[in-house]
């Protein structure tokens, strides 16, 4: 049932510079995780996407970038799905 999603996650994970990828639903349930992304963070990822969207509820959900020396995460909510992409440091 999740073959399509798994394929998309795999395709994304194989791109250069991508260290991990995670997909969650609006409740924080982890739908898939690859690489350095762990299932345990799915709740936080979903929460941060929802909280950021509530800053401006009249606008589409924003892109959230969390950056550190160890890498960065890009998070975007689209409908009921939230994606997180872990990028390796340059």
């Amino acid at each position: 049932m999740e073959r399509n999603l798994e394929k998309h996650l795999d395709d994304t994970f194989r791109l250069p510079g991508i260290a991990g990828v995670i997909c969650t639903d609006e409740h924080g349930l982890c739908l898939g995780a690859k690489g350095v992304a762990t299932r345990e963070t799915s709740g936080h990822i979903a929460n941060i996407a929802e909280s950021a969207a509530r800053l401006n509820p009249n606008l589409p959900p924003p892109v959230i970038a969390i950056e550190s020396e160890g890498g960065s995460i890009l998070i975007k909510k689209e409908g009921t799905i939230t994606m997180g992409i872990y990028k390796s440091p340059n």
Partner: protein
């Protein structure tokens, strides 16, 4: 202590949150509810491990919409939030 947010290009507003209180200006002036929302976001972001090192906390947190963004950083026990105009790179090339 005045923070020179006017030196940040395209700055639309700012919030500085400390243990003792807050300083704000521009679009974020006196927006206490927004400050509380930012605190929730920051506390969640601090819980997300970015690498195998547990000490690796975020240096910069950006929340980006089409035309503007909030850029957040923490330094010396202070949280700095700046609202800035966002100009996508493609628009600059056109």
């Amino acid at each position: 202590m005045a923070v020179p947010f006017d030196r940040i290009p395209d700055s639309l507003g700012y919030l500085v949150l400390t243990e003792d209180g807050a300083v704000s200006g521009g679009d974020l002036e006196n927006k206490e509810d927004v400050a509380n929302q930012f605190m929730n976001i920051i506390q969640t972001a601090l819980r997300i491990p970015l690498s195998s090192s547990k000490k690796d906390k975020f240096k910069k947190l950006s929340i980006v919409w089409d035309n503007f963004m909030y850029v957040i950083t923490i330094s010396a026990h202070k949280i700095y939030i700046c609202k800035r105009r966002f100009i996508p790179p493609d628009a600059a090339m056109a």
